[in-house]
């Protein structure tokens, strides 16, 4: 009986132990499953984190690459800008040189115009020659008047000679011919003297009008040169 009881106890214990073992195994399996699930979750999280980290690492790399590309582009642009700035600087320098050259040329033109204005003195010198020529003409007028007065006197003398020859009768016939010839010569001289006077008047007008034209033309040229000088000076001061 006792053995039965012992056996029953042992069997009960064994069953209990088996149940406990089964319960323990179940519990362990659950724990393992939970731990595995947690481990899996942790692994997933880690994988996700790793993936995120990798992503996070890739982003700065991409940004760095983008920045490098941008920097390269900027470098190119800078190089281009600096080249065009050099070109502009060169063009500006050329323009400044041209401007200086033009200003210099404008000043030279103004100087030349100012110098040429003194041409007026040349025209005035020519005009003075007119006074000299006209003085000579006046002198010739006076001489011609004297000649005309002599010729008139000769006409009177020849007339008197004719009268005296007529008084002398036949003896004065030859003298009358001479007196008549002298009168004819005096009349021709008078004609010549008148013609000479007319020529002198024509000369007076031609000389005066020609030399006045020269004098006035000289002043016209001087005035035009003064205008050129003023324009060149204005141009030069605009450039400076």
């Amino acid at each position: 009986m006792i053995q039965q009881y012992v056996l029953a106890t042992v069997a009960g214990s064994a069953v209990t132990a088996l149940l406990a073992l089964a319960a323990h195994k179940l519990q362990s399996a659950r724990l393992i499953a939970r731990l595995r699930a947690e481990a899996q979750a942790s692994a997933d999280t880690l994988k996700a984190e790793q993936s995120d980290r990798a992503e996070a690492i890739r982003e700065p790399e991409q940004a760095a690459q983008h920045l490098e590309a941008l920097a390269a582009q900027l470098r190119d642009e800078l190089a281009q800008q600096s080249a065009s700035a050099d070109e502009l600087r060169a063009a500006l320098k050329a323009a400044t040189d041209d401007k200086d050259q033009w200003a210099g040329q404008a000043q030279r033109i103004a100087g030349e115009a100012a110098r040429l204005k003194h041409l007026g003195a040349t025209f005035e010198r020519w005009h003075e020659q007119m006074i000299s020529l006209m003085t000579q003409n006046h002198d010739m007028h006076a001489k011609n008047q004297e000649l005309s007065s002599i010729v008139r006197h000769v006409v009177i003398v020849s007339l008197n000679a004719s009268i005296e020859a007529a008084r002398a009768g036949p003896a004065g016939r030859g003298f009358a011919v001479v007196a008549s010839e002298v009168r004819a010569l005096a009349a021709r001289s008078e004609e010549l003297s008148k013609s000479y006077r007319d020529s002198l008047h024509r000369n007076d007008l031609t000389i005066t009008s020609t030399f006045q034209d020269i004098q006035a033309g000289g002043k016209m040229i001087a005035a035009s040169l003064a205008s050129v000088e003023s324009l060149a000076n204005r141009f030069s001061s605009t450039l400076h």
């Binding site: 005009h127 007119m130 006209m134 006077r197 007319d198 008047h201 024509r202 007076d204 007008l205 031609t206 005066t208 009008s209 006045q212 034209d213 004098q215 006035a216 033309g217 000289g218 002043k219 016209m220 040229i221 001087a222 005035a223 035009s224």
Partner: protein, 182 residues
């Protein structure tokens, strides 16, 4: 070569200048009457034994302003008044210079390049030879100052190229006596 309107303009410019400059006092009258074109170079048709000649030159033409005068008591009395210091011709040449200067000033509005000569006195017997200059336009006028003082004037224009312009002489003449710029 000189158009009708240019001839008319030269005439109006002369009239304006003569009326402004030939009278010695601003209130004096100045009557200008044209003398027949054929008489322009006839000395017997024109008053005055002597003439004052002045030239205005441009690139395309030259204009001779010829003022006829007699140096008699009436002319001397009018221009000299009581001034016994200055010779008559000096005073009269200055008047002629002012008259021609006024024409020059007016012409400058239409011809930018002009120059004017100094005056010179010639015998009126020289005038028939104006035709030797081959003028394109000659016009003569008798000028009466204060109803009694007689002068005369001849304008002679010789052109090298066609001349055409219309002068506007309607502007009122400024007071006389100021310095001429020519």
């Amino acid at each position: 070569m000189i158009t009708a309107q240019a001839r008319d303009s030269f005439e109006r410019i002369f009239r304006k200048a003569a009326q402004a400059r030939l009278p010695i006092e601003p209130g004096d009258t100045c009557e200008i009457a044209p003398v027949g074109a054929g008489d322009a170079t006839r000395t017997d048709a024109m008053k005055g034994a002597q003439v004052v000649v002045l030239t205005i030159s441009s690139i395309v033409f030259r204009l001779l302003l010829i003022l006829h005068f007699d140096e008699n008591d009436a002319t001397r009395g009018y221009y000299l008044k009581d001034d016994v210091e200055r010779p008559f011709q000096e005073v009269f040449l200055e008047i002629c210079n002012l008259c021609c200067g006024a024409m020059n000033q007016e012409l400058l509005r239409y011809f930018p390049d002009l120059g004017m000569s100094t005056p010179y006195v010639l015998s009126a017997h020289c005038l028939p030879y104006l035709r030797e200059l081959n003028p394109d336009f000659v016009s003569a006028y008798s000028v009466t100052l204060n109803g009694s003082m007689q002068l005369a004037a001849t304008i002679c224009v010789c052109a090298d190229a066609p001349v055409d312009f219309v002068a506007d002489t309607s502007a009122m003449e400024e007071t006389s006596g100021e310095l001429e710029l020519f």
